[in-house]
């Protein structure tokens, strides 16, 4: 196994998507873009989840980065690469700072502490008139290394840009998960004391995870800000946003770095049609789906795909 088959699979999928983007209708491309953003955050949750930690506050990094994009944009920065990288890095830095505190907590305490931090961000954003208060801020269309596409070309370029970012994130996480540090993941979940006796610092391992996770959520928020062209506290930093990420993570399963993105696509499609056909009922449909997933496919969509593939291999 010299080549990682996940990396091969992901590469093929990304290339196919990149070709497909020229032929799909605009609204489908938009779903794709939103899925990339939400998928990146869910990927961040996956990194934590494998250690048994659930964050109910990833909207903190997501919103922080989205507002970073909006504010930089208002200062006149238009380049997508600069916007996304600077904002996501700022989120990573924020995660590093908060990490010193949250790394000491586990389970429900960890979940609630992260949520508390995200609600602080929400409060600050909603009350500050300079940040647009609850109305939020508009974002001018980005440029890409000097290239300034308009209309449909803008969306296609952004899609390809997003794909590039997401591809990088998946590769990065895959490499991390296969490294020694990444392998500690399960070890920490199973028995922290033994990990300490092996000579590793559990807090250190968790801190690194938290930073990676915050960074990923930051990338998600930045992509979302560019894809939608609008940031506001309710969509970006309220605890329901964090809830959606957890929803996607549950829907997807933690089996593979590609899973969060498949989960995100599924989530966006369900929401899309629920909103369209059940104006009053869309929340019920979303909730029902989640319930069904937890009851019937507790390991998420990825486990279903895996089972399908295994069955075929078995027949052979």
């Amino acid at each position: 196994m010299s080549f990682d088959r996940t990396i091969i699979g992901v590469t093929i999928a990304v290339v196919l998507m990149a070709c497909a983007t020229f032929f799909i209708p605009d609204w489908v491309r938009q779903i794709g873009l939103l899925s990339m953003a939400i998928g990146s955050v869910a990927l961040g949750l996956l990194v934590l989840w494998r250690t048994g930690l659930i964050s109910f506050g990833h909207a903190l990094f997501y919103g922080f980065s989205a507002y970073g994009v909006a504010l930089l944009n208002h200062l006149g920065v238009r380049d997508a690469f600069v916007l996304v990288i600077v904002s996501a890095a700022a989120s990573g830095l924020l995660a590093w700072g908060l990490g010193f505190l949250v790394r000491r907590y586990r389970a429900i305490f960890f979940a609630l502490l992260t949520m508390a931090f995200s609600m602080i961000l929400y409060g600050v954003l909603a009350k500050t008139e300079r940040f647009g208060s609850t109305d939020g801020l508009n974002i001018h269309p980005p440029t890409f290394l000097g290239y300034a596409p308009v209309d449909q070309a803008a969306q296609i370029t952004l899609f390809l840009f997003g794909l590039l970012v997401v591809y990088g994130l998946m590769l990065g996480v895959q490499i991390y998960l296969r490294s020694v540090l990444g392998q500690m993941t399960t070890a920490v979940r199973e028995n922290e004391i033994r990990v300490e006796y092996l000579g590793y610092s559990v807090e250190h391992v968790i801190h690194i995870k938290y930073v990676i996770s915050g960074l990923l959520a930051g990338f998600g928020g930045a992509i979302m800000a560019l894809a939608v062209g609008q940031v506001d506290p309710e969509s970006m930093a309220y605890w329901t946003a964090s809830g959606e990420f957890v929803f996607v993570a549950i829907l997807a399963g933690t089996g593979n770095v590609a899973a969060p993105f498949i989960g995100a696509v599924a989530f966006e499609i369900i929401r899309h049609f629920a909103w369209e056909h059940g104006a009053n009922l869309w929340q019920l449909i979303m909730g029902g789906t989640l319930l069904a997933i937890i009851m019937f496919v507790p390991d998420g969509i990825w486990s279903v795909l895996q089972r399908l593939v295994r069955k075929k291999d078995g027949v052979k």
Binding site: T6, I8, G9, D26, W27, Q30, D135, Y238, E276
Partner: protein, 441 residues
């Protein structure tokens, strides 16, 4: 092993493509007209705004299709086309609404939008409306920022009523003439864009119109959807000012009224409630007597009680018969926006030799025009003819036991040109500069 990864990727991509592929065929047929109508169908904005707005929309569209609306709208359909409304949920925040807006245009191919309750949503979708070149009539959302800051050269976006500055200014006029001897005013407003803007406009207008009545700097700023106001009510009871301004709405307003009633707040203070019109019929007998109550214009209770035109009579009767309750402000405003659409399309079609007009022709027909809404005349007289100017009314609420309905008395009417900034002038600059150019007779 490699094959497995390949196959897995293929299954994933195929699944995605099939789902999309199946869905593409759903686009709406083009032989009728489709209007997307966003309003709050779920969440805190639904009972007071979303549901009356939806009801008003359904009522007016059905009547338009049957040709039952009184003159000048007594022809069937809009420029001959039957109208279908796609009423959808406005909740979830600006970013989600931008996505929904895109979907309605790019997937369902709607002809236009009419609606939007929240300023936040309007601020969010303005840019995408211009980008997607889709005619959009804002019926209700109040923020002046839409044309003053976000979209200074609007082409596809219109608003068919006065913006929120008119609420603050007309209320200040009312206070100046009815409560000139008051010793001061304070406020309780939700700490978010609408609350902050409402207080700012009222406060600035009071400084111009009634400089003797001093504004407090210690207003109360509870969180939106806070729901519990014990501490704020105590602070208000202790404050020295006679008058209290509030732009509370929806569930917050009703919760505040119930909690305030229990402590005699509305007997001790004269309340100025800028959007309490939406709660009047819901509260009924529990509506505090003597509060100054606004409906963001001559809508809702003001139209139901005071306007005697065939149009309002028809609308009120049809609404009460169908829904068993009186129409409120959002019902009127949504119907007003849809009548604006009917007006613009038919004017454009007439200019186009009776053929279905292009969006550009409809825009040309509506820019700067004057049309009749349900309760008031709408003059598209600001922001290059994209911002409506409508009249306003204020009065004092009480409950009429014989009618079994809340009523307003001591009503004053204000002309749009008296309470809206002149064309090309920014609201805050206008207020701070002493409201020059206001035409009040």
């Amino acid at each position: 092993m490699k094959h497995r990864a390949l196959r897995l990727a293929a299954v994933g991509v195929a699944a995605v493509l099939t789902t999309f592929g199946v869905a593409v065929g759903n686009a709406v047929a083009k032989d009728k007209m489709v209007i997307a109508v966003p309003t709050f169908l779920t969440g805190g904005g639904a009972p007071a705004f979303g549901i009356p707005a939806r009801n008003g929309t359904e009522l007016i569209i059905q009547a338009i299709n049957k040709g039952q609306v009184p003159a000048p709208y007594n022809t069937k359909g809009i420029a001959g086309a039957q109208v279908e409304a796609i009423i959808y949920d406005e909740s979830g925040g600006g970013a989600k609404q931008v996505t929904e807006y895109r979907n309605k245009v790019q997937k369902l191919g709607v002809d236009m939008f009419a609606g939007f309750v929240s300023s936040g949503t309007c601020a969010a979708v303005t840019a995408v409306a211009e980008e997607l070149k889709t005619l959009t009539l804002y019926s209700t959302c109040g923020t002046p920022r839409v044309f003053e800051e976000l979209d200074k050269n609007p082409k596809y976006v219109f608003r068919t009523m006065s913006h929120a500055t008119a609420d603050g200014v007309s209320l200040a006029h009312y206070v100046a003439s009815k409560y000139g001897s008051a010793n001061g005013y304070t406020g309780i407003n939700q700490n978010y864009a609408w609350g902050q803007d409402s207080w700012r406009d009222f406060d600035l207008a009071m400084k111009v119109l009634a400089p003797k009545i001093k504004g407090s700097t210690k207003g109360q700023w509870p969180k939106i959807f806070a729901g519990r106001y014990g501490a704020e009510i105590s602070a208000l009871l202790k404050s020295p000012e006679d008058l209290v301004h509030t732009s509370f709405w929806g569930g917050d307003l009703e919760a505040f009224i119930f909690q305030g009633l229990a402590r005699g707040l509305f007997k001790k203070k004269q309340f100025l409630m800028s959007v309490a019109g939406t709660a009047a019929y819901r509260l009924g007998k529990k509506l505090p007597t003597g509060i100054v109550l606004g409906s963001r214009g001559p809508y809702g209770i003001y139209a139901n009680q005071l306007i005697d035109t065939p149009m309002v009579k028809w609308f009120n009767n049809a609404y009460v018969n169908r829904y068993g309750t009186q129409p409120t402000q959002p019902s009127y405003q949504y119907a007003q926006a849809i009548l604006g659409a009917k007006f613009a399309y038919e004017k454009a079609a007439a200019a186009n030799g009776g053929k279905w007009p292009s969006t550009d022709q409809v825009i040309a027909a509506l820019e700067g025009a004057t049309f009749q809404g349900v309760a008031t005349e709408v003059r598209m007289a600001r922001s290059n003819g994209h911002q409506g100017v409508t009249d306003h009314a204020w009065g004092v609420a009480s409950f009429d036991k014989e009618l079994g309905l809340p009523v307003v008395s001591d009503v004053m009417h204000f002309k749009g040109d008296c309470i809206m900034p002149p064309d090309g002038m920014d609201s805050v600059t206008w207020l701070k500069g002493g409201m020059k150019g206001a035409k009040c007779d």
